[in-house]
Symmetry: C2
Subunit: 394 residues, 2 copies
Amino acid sequence: MEAYMIFRDIAIIIVAAKLLGILARKLNVPQVVGEIVAGLLIGPSVLGLVNQSDFLSYMGEIGVILLMFSAGLGTNLKDLKKTGITAFLIALVGVIVPLICGTLLYMVFYGFSAIGSHEFFKAVFIGTILTATSVSITVQTLSEMGKLKTTLGTTIVSAAIIDDVIGIIVLAIVVGIGTGGENTNISVVVIRNLLFFIISGIGGVILYKLFKRLDNRYHHTQRIPILGLALCMALSYCAERYFGVADITGAFVAGVILCNIRDAEYIESKLNINSYMLFGPIFFAGIGIKTNIQGISPTIILFSICFVIVALLAKVVGCGTVAKLTKHSLNDSLKVGVGMMTRGEVALIVAQKGLSVGLLESVYFTPVIILIITSSILTPILLKFLYKRETRAV
Amino acid sequence: MEAYMIFRDIAIIIVAAKLLGILARKLNVPQVVGEIVAGLLIGPSVLGLVNQSDFLSYMGEIGVILLMFSAGLGTNLKDLKKTGITAFLIALVGVIVPLICGTLLYMVFYGFSAIGSHEFFKAVFIGTILTATSVSITVQTLSEMGKLKTTLGTTIVSAAIIDDVIGIIVLAIVVGIGTGGENTNISVVVIRNLLFFIISGIGGVILYKLFKRLDNRYHHTQRIPILGLALCMALSYCAERYFGVADITGAFVAGVILCNIRDAEYIESKLNINSYMLFGPIFFAGIGIKTNIQGISPTIILFSICFVIVALLAKVVGCGTVAKLTKHSLNDSLKVGVGMMTRGEVALIVAQKGLSVGLLESVYFTPVIILIITSSILTPILLKFLYKRETRAV
């Protein structure tokens, strides 16, 4: 392929993604949905302007790594310690319930299969997609209502972050076991995962101290983001190459290692420019480009509807119950549940991982996209309703 | 290739490029030289950690486009009008003399060949590499001495910018004719080039007005750099695809179109982050990775020495003579000549273009790199000497 063909593809993708991203935001739908629709329009399904190429899919992979690194950088370990056990329990149950419900949903549709079989892990993967909360819509809504800095607001945000960490561990294990063939020794996978998290934990402390020293010496210089980016790339590589752990897990861990240095936000701001201008749009539009509209059958439509309902209820019930048990009022418990039910980029990234390791078919991107749209529209409406009802009750 | 191999390559490249870039700057050599040496070290010539791949070369191509776009954005059309005819003449002669001298040098070494033959254009290409001045070292030196804002300083900077524009036209024509085979109709190439510059001139005025309006409405928003990047990619593509003009010419023209909108600097700052963090290092390290040390023969070493001498003298004599003829003192004329003799990134980008269209062999990267190093070291020393001599004379 001539290099100039790449410039053509990139120009079309970034313009289309930006225009439809802006449109999406005007319609109160997350920007990524607009970018996916842009991909659908310019891809083979509709206009056929851009086809998926190796180059574009590698660029998209870099986009994913950058997004996960950024998610890791956004984790504030000190804040997490403060909110303590409640947020942890909400997150834990908020991962387990959707994981089980998603798995069961797939089995109800496509038949129950033996534990350990490939079909079984395909079912578990549907559950895995449902684990990660995307807190941005909730943060935005709470912030608009001036409720973000309340105890309840902090609990929701912390739970959503812990939920990301637990979700990434679940993903690592599911991918590790599910892709190893039917004779995978589960204990080997678990040990590898444990080893990865232990080694990156110990190495992380050393790297953190090293970066902290660098940061003090070269605060706000180009060096810090460049070395941060290199760490992100290196850990993504090592995770996958030496431990069989998903590369996105490595990127996320790299972000967590650096999240408490002074320049964490500076790194994030520099990388976000890379991410939002080029790699992000190429990843999300790429999902649209790969989506095959013809593959959408009545079964998939029915599955999508059930998938969305299960996804939303599993978080509301799971997280809400823990909130109620930890002495929140019914109304506050519902707020926690609704605040935790939104899904976003990470669900798509997990789905993409599933596609690349053979645990998910591309047709299941459709339910994930519908889930993101539905949850992003419903959460603000329900949260506002719950807060209003309370005011009236007082 | 697995995606995680890309992360490994990128991590190694950006760390090595940054470290050696910093070292180079400490040794008062341009940072790009450090990055090239980094590529040499990690590439097959020495350590063999990273091999050139399709993906890396596409990333490098994007790096080149971004650098040329950035060079275009740095052109201030209003300032150029002010310095007028003198700077234009200095630039014009400063392009023609090195072009002819470089061509003759190659012919002296490898034999004179018929005008229009492939060998002839290979000779002309060596001349073409010598056309573009890199003004950054001169600007830095003049600025350190407090002489940048003098009439002479402005003349040198303007001439260097005009020199880029003329050089890019020369490159467009040489590539157009030289790659069309021995039966190329020169008039067709010239008409295509004229058409490109006319159409992009007219289209440029319209695009400039459109961007100016967008800029007023969405000043300092993500939209402006994203659309600017898209314009750069689109023009690079159109230049090469529809006019047979080098993609880097399109990128440069895109930069010139946008150089006078209010957000020009903002676009540059956003793109520079992309460029300096990722694409730039991959391009320059890529040159090192591709450089084959074994290919360096005694002839090439001798050629390199002559190449550097011819390159430096051609600019000093060419530009200096025009300065003398336009009523500058001998000392001032020498300053103009010395100020115009530095070469930098653009020479490498032109060389890379020659390699990709088959007008240059990779072994000629070595003389270009040596030229960049030599001129960057000599220019500050000579300029300081010339200014000191003047002070003593007074």
